[in-house]
Symmetry: C2
Subunit: 344 residues, 2 copies
């Protein structure tokens, strides 16, 4: 090993994986697209491609078992992986799940985890086809690989956005992040006095968004029914700002996102304000919403107009015009990715 | 969570995964075979199937960085996953690699790891198509999923062995385990006195078998060239005894393995004796050889007779006759799985 020591933080997650894999070249004829999108694309037939995505979740980094019940964790781990297949405009079919656990966990705890995985598999109609259990020296690690399918001419990469396309988001934003603030607050209260019952009243929607997010398989279906193939798509795991910048970078375009267009649920807004947080900041930078962000041609606008599941939040501009957030006063603020943890 | 507490050790690795996944049913029309073999099988076309296998490696459980250089670890992690595709009589085409690392590791350490992964990808002609890097609270975790292909009528499950079939093993056995003993001894010597240089002279073959095992892609190719499709196959990761029992259980058959037939390299035997170990015990129960164990019809015997890469070590019997190891005196000893760590 060389004498030099470069800290991991210096590169961040995306920089690190880019750096480590820069010398790898795809040589297999069945590999259509490798690293760099929500899922890899493999050839299947003249009409279909296969999608493959993988994710690892670490206790204490990606989840905290103090407020995340194991059944919810199992469900969420599956749903968030399926979300990556949705982001390619595909349908998930199989998953593999590997876990490493310390002997702190009894069999009954893993039964809870697999109960959640099972519930998600049934709901999303995916088969658990493989896996591995190991012992770990500390905590719980879950690694999931998901396999799906899409029609060859309907796969949506991050790189297809064109100038003048409309930026569209499914559902509403910021709820999962604000829900996490409530859970964190109740954890603090509990730590201070374990006799006080957690006060989650009136926060059911935002807590469910944090603990039991769903992959938007319905939006993928709606798009097909509406005969709309997005020019690009990504799922929102790290926050809208970070994801729109991924699309802009891959597609070599700029964008305008309008503050007043952001879809935010009333419970999210009210609770954000209780926490002295700006709801729009939560929508732009709060992670884990697992909504879909996509671009469509203006000619498809009439097909999605008024659709309750989709909101136009801006449009794509020329790359040299940059990436901007336009506030209520018309001021343009340059977009910067502010994921909550770049190594997450 | 229920009040009951059942320790993980009670079920062991195979029992645990069987227990946790017993309620899962495969419902997708493209899932041919799920959990329970070296790889899952998905339908691709009339002629071909896809193979998927996944594995997780944990520092301190599956590897020790004190004597396993990171480059070797990267190579081995890929090779041992490809070995699972070989065990299905298939050819690996793509892998995904996820890692979690603590900030104890600098970027340069991960460059070494990925250098090994890259070397293996080039050697085995597989494409790295996805992955994930995360921070961990302690140590290094590597999770790999490998995807391959096989002709539909040539896939080898564990369940196809028939009475009177011959039991065949590729290469030689026990070397990786004895190599580990040498590395462990030198680690002890180093811990006692860091000024003493490790003495690995004369142990190059067995140490390479431990640090840089290869997947037997050549054996899969030889079998095709010889026009032999094994009736069952598995790779030897946990030791011959454990693997032959997997075949017997899945195929509902018995077996006789002959002590004097076991292929053991001279360096393995000599070093085993130095360590007061029985070479045959190392061959039967030493893990990590990554050779292939398979069964063939007696009518195929002439095709493999005299082949330097394959050794007939016994035959398949009726299930009710049990699983036996026959020693030099003709005494039959019942086979028991003695993997070195059931939770590995």
């Amino acid at each position: 090993m060389s004498e030099q020591r470069t800290e991991l933080e210096k590169l961040g997650e995306f920089g690190l994986i880019e750096h480590l894999t820069q010398n790898f070249k795809n040589e297999n004829k069945h590999t259509v697209y490798g690293i760099g999108d929500d899922a890899a694309v493999l050839s299947l037939s003249d009409k279909e491609v296969q999608l493959v995505s993988t994710d690892m979740l670490i206790e204490g980094v990606h989840f905290n078992l103090m407020y995340m019940p194991l059944k919810h964790l199992g469900y969420k781990a599956v749903a968030t992986n399926i979300s990556d297949i949705c982001a390619m405009n595909g349908v998930a079919e199989q998953i593999t799940v590997s876990i490493a656990v310390s002997n702190r966990f009894p069999v009954e705890a893993l039964e809870e985890l697999y109960d959640g995985i099972h519930t998600a598999c049934k709901f999303y109609k995916v088969d658990l086809i493989g896996g591995d259990t190991s012992s770990s020296l500390s905590g719980l690690t879950i690694s999931i690989t998901v396999i799906g399918r899409a029609n060859k001419d309907e796969v949506t990469y991050r790189s297809g956005a064109k100038e003048h396309d409309l930026l569209v988001v499914s559902g509403d934003l910021g709820a999962a992040y604000v829900g996490l603030q409530v859970l964190e607050r109740e954890k603090e209260v509990y730590n201070a006095n374990p006799n006080i019952q957690p006060d989650l009243d009136g926060h059911d929607y935002i807590i469910e968004r944090q603990l039991k997010p769903e992959a938007r398989v319905d939006v993928v279906r709606f798009l097909k029914e509406l005969d709309v193939t997005p020019s690009s798509m990504i799922d929102i795991s790290d926050g809208l700002a970070s994801e729109v910048l991924h699309i802009c970078k891959s597609s070599k375009v700029g964008c305008h996102i309008y503050d007043e267009k952001l879809p935010i649920d009333g419970q999210t807004s009210m609770t954000a304000i209780d926490f002295s947080l700006d709801p729009n900041t939560c929508a732009m930078n709060g992670g884990e919403d697992y909504e879909l962000l996509f671009t469509i041609s203006q000619s498809d606008y009439d097909k999605i107009k008024g659709n309750p599941h989709m909101t136009v939040i801006g449009h794509i501009t020329n790359e040299k015009d940059g990436q901007y957030y336009i506030d209520k006063n018309g001021a343009a603020i340059e977009l910067l990715a502010q994921g909550w943890d770049t190594m997450k």
